[in-house]
């Protein structure tokens, strides 16, 4: 048994979690919601176990490093961050909806990482550019930010869906105000984390490449993302925009996030080619 086996297990568990949360929302069933949550805890335990195991295995291979160094590991960690946001969000929001959104995303990412066959899951040694103490803090803040933005994206989409709804299942969803508020809160926290990710990246780049900012595609796209969410916060807090306009920005913002994460590596060439 190795770490990738645990990830395949977690993938199926998250699928079940997503289903359970959807059932909980559709039937307004508190028991289904609580059950979904405990299954999510089990999945998260497997998931965390896999990450720790991979970390340990890399040491056994004599190339020990935190498992945050290639595409496979980034998918696994992105998914893990989503589940962290799921648990944290329960401090403020009840109801199965956030759970449904996040566990679905978490499932899709793990499914792609472990089942697609296109992602190389081997443990690889750390290339010189990644041998730095900044790796962990940079990656953690960036992916937690991405996870927050994923939730705000879900909130933005559901805002628009809910607004169009005339009866039916969709009108059982929480009010449009709920989604508006959810998008705002997650974007505020995501913005802070993204700022932290950019700062740690800049300080690291200064030691690794000799400059804190070089308009590398990854850097530029992270700034584009930062400015879009900056625009969101100003539109909402200073101009008092609410509703459709801000929901659209939260959707566009997440497209920029995805491009920062993937597009830069698959479409544009740059220094940051290891994700």
């Amino acid at each position: 048994m190795d770490d990738t086996f645990l990830i395949s297990l977690a993938t199926f568990v998250y699928f079940a979690v997503a289903l359970l949360f959807v059932i909980a929302v559709a039937f307004e069933n508190r028991r289904a919601e609580r059950f979904a949550l405990s299954v999510a805890v089990a999945g998260f335990t497997l998931h965390t176990g896999s990450i720790l195991m991979r970390w340990l295995l890399s040491y056994r291979l004599g190339i020990g490093h935190a498992p945050l160094s290639n595409f496979y590991e980034s998918l696994v960690f992105f998914s893990w961050s989503l589940v962290v946001v799921l648990f944290v969000s329960r401090r403020r929001y009840r109801g199965g909806l956030i759970g449904a959104i996040l566990s679905l995303f978490a499932f899709l990412l793990l499914a792609y990482a472990s089942l697609s066959g296109k992602v190389d899951a081997r443990i690889q040694p750390l290339i010189p550019a990644l041998q730095s103490n900044w790796l962990i803090s940079h990656v953690i803040s960036a992916f937690l930010a991405y996870a927050c933005f994923a939730l705000s994206f879900g909130a933005g989409v559901l805002y628009l869906v809910r607004k169009k709804a005339r009866g039916g299942l969709v009108s059982r969803l929480p009010s449009t105000e709920f989604f508006d508020e959810l998008a705002y809160r997650t974007i505020s926290i995501g913005f802070l984390l993204l700022t932290l990710g950019i700062i740690t990246g800049a300080v690291w780049a200064d030691t690794a490449w000799g400059r804190y900012w070089g308009w590398d595609p990854k850097e530029t796209w992270s700034l584009i993302t930062w400015m879009l969410y900056g625009a969101y916060l100003h539109a909402r807090l200073v101009k008092g925009w609410r509703g459709t306009a801000t929901a659209v920005i939260s959707i566009v913002g997440f497209i920029a996030v995805i491009f920062t994460y993937l597009g830069v590596n698959y479409i544009l060439a740059g220094l940051h080619s290891y994700l």
């Binding site: 730095s132 802070l192 800049a202 490449w209 400059r211 308009w215 796209w221 400015m227 100003h234 830069v264």
Partner: protein, 437 residues
């Protein structure tokens, strides 16, 4: 006129416009290749787009006059917006007692009214308990027979917003200073040689105040062939005198007198002493020879001679290779490439190029940026600002008690700062438990 200008510079509309414009033009910069030789743009994008690229400086978009102009406009926008808010903010922070304004009980984001029974003293005591649970120790004032209470928490938290905006100015200023007073470029030093000139990124060269000697360069690999370490052992020379020796690795630059040297690339400067193994295909007998370029050696058991004519550090992307020549009596020369560790069969022999001794060069990224301290200060300030804004909320609660026949009419006004819904729930719950008791 000035007023209109000032107003538009202070508007949040301008901020939004700048954010979106900067974002969209930055996207452009990632789609159009930056920093190609200028004549290449016509080949890659066609003559029409190339003319636009030239006109709008898109070949170096992030340093173009209009992009820098947008950034400066953003700096002005932030300055004016923040400066406009500062006086009111400080007034608010300085004033200790905000009691006595009856208007607040109509205009505050949250208002409540109730009749409370019991003596005015009792009602005030309850009101104080309520305030303490919601915001903090209340300040008391009495006027026209009415009691005014006010409590607040996090009165400094709004300074966090000022810090965040000021930090962007610091970072932009640092960037500007760096682009004016700094430089960056690459330096290529052969092993055993020294250099004092940097090839600047924007073209041209620059003479450093010190010279750098590369004593040794080495690259090591993991078992799977991935690079493990690039390492240059260098000595700093000032006026020919050795000042200090250091090792530069990726992520471990050398810093000296405001200059920074980072490991960036490497290559083979010169190769000599090539080892070629000639194997007789029939007998399997191997004869290794050590060669120099253009020096022929006999191929054992034949009348033929072998020579290495040229060395290529990277032959067709397959790594180092040797250009071999077979000199056969009465026949034209046979010339063929032998990539390292990929033997080639010619005549009755198999030629394998197994090793060579090389002199490497190290490629260092060299730069100096006097703006860095400002940028770092900006980073710290923005984090401090976020901490203030996220960890504490500015919350104010006002209460007015007017004596009535049965006890007191209690008016409550509150500005929760954030999370209005959660605060209202807390308020109503505290309200019920305290005043019902």
């Amino acid at each position: 006129m000035m007023r209109i200008l000032y107003k538009s510079l202070a508007s949040a509309k301008l901020t939004l416009f700048l954010f979106i414009t900067l974002a969209v033009s930055s996207i452009f910069g990632t789609l159009v290749q930056q920093g190609l030789p200028r004549e290449r743009y016509a080949e890659v994008y066609g003559p029409g787009p190339a003319a636009l690229i030239e006109l709008f400086h898109i070949f170096d978009l992030y340093h173009s006059w209009w992009f820098v102009g947008l950034l400066l406009l953003l700096a002005v926008n932030i300055t004016v917006c923040t400066a406009r808010r500062i006086p009111a903010l400080f007034r608010q922070i300085r004033s200790r007692n905000r009691n006595g304004d009856d208007g607040i009980f109509r205009s505050a984001p949250i208002t409540r009214t109730l009749e409370s029974h019991g003596s005015v003293d009792e009602v005030e005591k309850k009101a104080r308990t309520l305030l303490r649970s919601l915001a903090g120790e209340p300040v008391h004032a009495a006027r026209d027979g009415k009691i005014y209470l006010f409590a607040e928490r996090g009165r400094y938290t709004r300074l966090g917003m000022v810090a965040i905006h000021a930090s962007i100015l610091l970072i932009l200023a640092g960037g500007l200073i760096g682009s004016i007073g700094g430089f960056s470029g690459q330096m290529r030093i052969n092993e055993g040689a020294s250099s004092q000139t940097v090839a600047l990124s924007g073209g041209g060269t620059r003479l450093l105040p010190v010279a750098l000697a590369c004593n040794d360069f080495s690259v090591t690999f993991y078992e799977n062939g991935m690079p493990r370490e690039y390492r240059s052992d260098v000595t700093v020379l000032e006026g020919g005198k050795k000042i200090l020796s250091a090792t530069i690795r990726v992520n471990e630059p050398l810093k000296y007198k405001g200059l920074k040297f980072c490991q960036a690339t490497y290559g083979i400067a010169e190769a000599s002493g090539f080892t070629v193994v000639m194997r007789d295909a029939a007998t399997g007998k191997e004869s290794p020879v050590s060669l120099k370029l253009m020096k022929k050696v006999p191929v054992p058991g034949t009348e033929t001679f072998f020579a290495a004519a040229r060395f290529a550090p990277d032959f067709q992307g397959r790594g180092p290779a040797l250009l071999g020549v077979l000199l056969q009596p009465g026949k034209p020369h046979d010339i063929f490439w032998i990539p390292r560790d990929q033997p080639v069969k010619r005549g009755g022999h198999i030629f394998a190029f197994t090793d060579f001794t090389a002199r490497f060069y190290t490629g260092l990224q060299v730069g100096s940026d006097p703006g860095v301290p400002l940028v770092w200060a900006g980073f710290l300030l923005i984090l401090a600002g976020f901490a203030a804004v996220f960890l504490e909320v500015h919350r104010r609660v006002w209460i007015r008690i007017a004596p009535s026949a049965e006890g007191g009419e209690v008016l409550i006004a509150a500005d929760p700062g954030n999370n209005r819904k959660g605060f209202e729930e807390r308020l109503d719950k505290a309200f019920r438990t305290i005043f019902a008791a």
